[in-house]
Assembly symmetry: C2
Homo-oligomer: 327 residues x 2
């Protein structure tokens, strides 16, 4: 590319008025299974912000719902699981995912790649640790105490749960790639809750299984979490081509931790977008300066776009990065 | 001491049945202004767990309430501020705190030091950044978007707000020290939301002012936050004698970041206590091993005791640390 590529986590949805318009009256998970709607929502930020990639609009719980787990996304709360996974018997509910479980994904990705032309489409899945946390807790948590109680207290059950989820996640990403996605991102939103030794032992093997399962396709694999400053090297070693970095670790320091051979993605603090243009530009320059020596850099926020972000600020930011990094 | 000292953040309250008994029908902030009740709650974990220090039972919003800010602690939610601080005019509401504003603190600390004898009492206050976050947001937040919008968008107002809070916090700690507290802890619960450059510029000066204001008393100053792996050196440089470390950074790595001349406090993952005795002991040994070469170590959890923790597990943990580290 002639400049540093830019895309935003959660660029589709939430902050866009045109998103709220097309979603009106349609529950979140319902919107994820309508191919035309997924296509429209995925394309909206590409049209508006001129970002360099589309991000497949979905939710991390979509593959779990697709295999029959009784869950829903409650507005203002997040994913809520009717019967949390707490015992070995509960694992039986986690059957394999096949392409027939998610025909809407195949269809939407097909529609999207035709619409997008040369613009890449990034496929998307939640990582096993984060999915397991939701399944065990039964919903969002600030402490993950039930998940960690299982992880520490019954490590074999925990490992078997994550291994099941690795197979499901890999299958879900394969559907997206085979339908035409040209990159994938594995979101381990909550991995930052783990100490490095616990991550290495109790989360990384399952993420590595997912990333290995899709390695043969040759598409770039992005691996992201929040609060993962201590885990960056391990998240790279799990099989990522691109390691996502939140705003807490400057990119030059992140590169030292990750080591050679990987690109980095990030890492403007999303709340910077609530300040004026000059502040956004100054902070963006700091990110670009820290990224100057990297082997590869995708500009992004350090976490998802906040719902109350002014869409125009995002458009200006994408343009600014393009202008500043033109080669 | 003949062994590594142990105390637990939030050891008083929440997890103890005797706490829930004495609090019955008494709102949280009401309980903080009754000297006999504060004394009883502060002593409960010392009696039960045989920890090496008492931690003054309070809440970070107590000094704000004491100067007349209209706020309350809503059960299941946290501190809620009736009129958030958003403008320069709002700063006028943050008047100085004097000992006459908190007579119950002087009285409770006096009662406590008499009861405790040689056992140290650790005083307690929230740091300016965390207090400012609550005041600007108006309540708990996962993103601190209003606080950070002010920090990035109106840095002079933000600096003035934190400077006001530094004076209030310093005065609140001085009351505790002058009444007999033998150490203080400055809790910057949410500092980990900041990138290092932002912490250095927009939070550290106010914390440094607080810690400097109490330096003359010669009592140990503990400085703690969560998710602060990238900030550990700066939190030490702010004027701490002891730097608190959450469970995400192994203590030997934390010592490298903090540098010489400081002790560390931490850092068992509080969720480990939901596992069995063998797991707790193995994970505790890992912490003690990582602490082996430190200049000073106070054993603690990496964050507060969780409300659903079995109190007996805490008692066993304190005893285990004492036994393992006997000199």
């Amino acid at each position: 590319m002639p400049h540093t590529p830019v895309w935003f986590m959660r660029q589709a949805g939430r902050s866009l008025p045109e998103y709220h318009k097309v979603r009106e009256g349609i529950p979140m998970l319902e919107s994820c299974v309508r191919p035309e709607l997924v296509t429209e929502i995925t394309l909206q930020p590409v049209r508006r912000h001129k970002v360099d990639a589309a991000v497949y609009f979905s939710d991390i719980v979509v593959p779990l719902r697709a295999i029959g787990i009784d869950l829903d996304i409650k507005p203002g709360v997040g994913p809520v699981v009717a019967d949390p996974v707490r015992t070995r018997a509960d694992l039986a509910r986690l059957r394999d995912l096949t392409p027939e479980d998610v025909p809407y994904v195949t269809e939407a990705v097909g529609l999207l790649t035709r619409e997008l032309g040369p613009t890449p489409l990034i496929g998307f899945a939640g990582a096993p640790f984060t999915l397991a946390s939701y399944l065990v807790e039964g919903g969002p948590s600030r402490t993950y105490e039930n998940a960690k109680a299982m992880m520490y207290g019954d490590p074999q059950l925990w490992a078997d749960l994550l291994d099941r989820l690795a197979d499901i996640t890999a299958a879900f990403l394969k559907v997206q790639i085979e339908a035409g996605a040209s990159a994938v991102q594995l979101f381990d939103s909550w991995a930052g809750a783990l100490a490095p030794a616990d991550y290495r032992h109790s989360a990384m093997p399952a993420s590595a299984k997912v990333l290995e399962a899709v390695a043969g396709y040759g598409v770039p694999r992005i691996h992201f979490g929040v609060g993962t400053g201590e885990l960056l090297r391990l998240m790279g070693e799990a099989g990522a081509d691109v390691v996502g970095v939140d705003w807490r670790v400057p990119l030059d320091e992140a590169a030292r931790r990750v080591g050679p051979g990987k690109a980095l993605q990030g890492n403007l603090d999303p709340t910077v977008l609530f300040a004026g243009k000059e502040v956004v530009e100054a902070k963006t320059r700091e990110v670009l300066d820290a990224a100057a020596g990297l082997e590869g850099h995708v500009f992004n926020l350090g976490h998802g776009v906040m719902p109350s972000t002014d869409p125009d600020a995002l458009t200006r930011l994408a343009e600014f990065v393009h202008t500043e990094t033109v080669r």
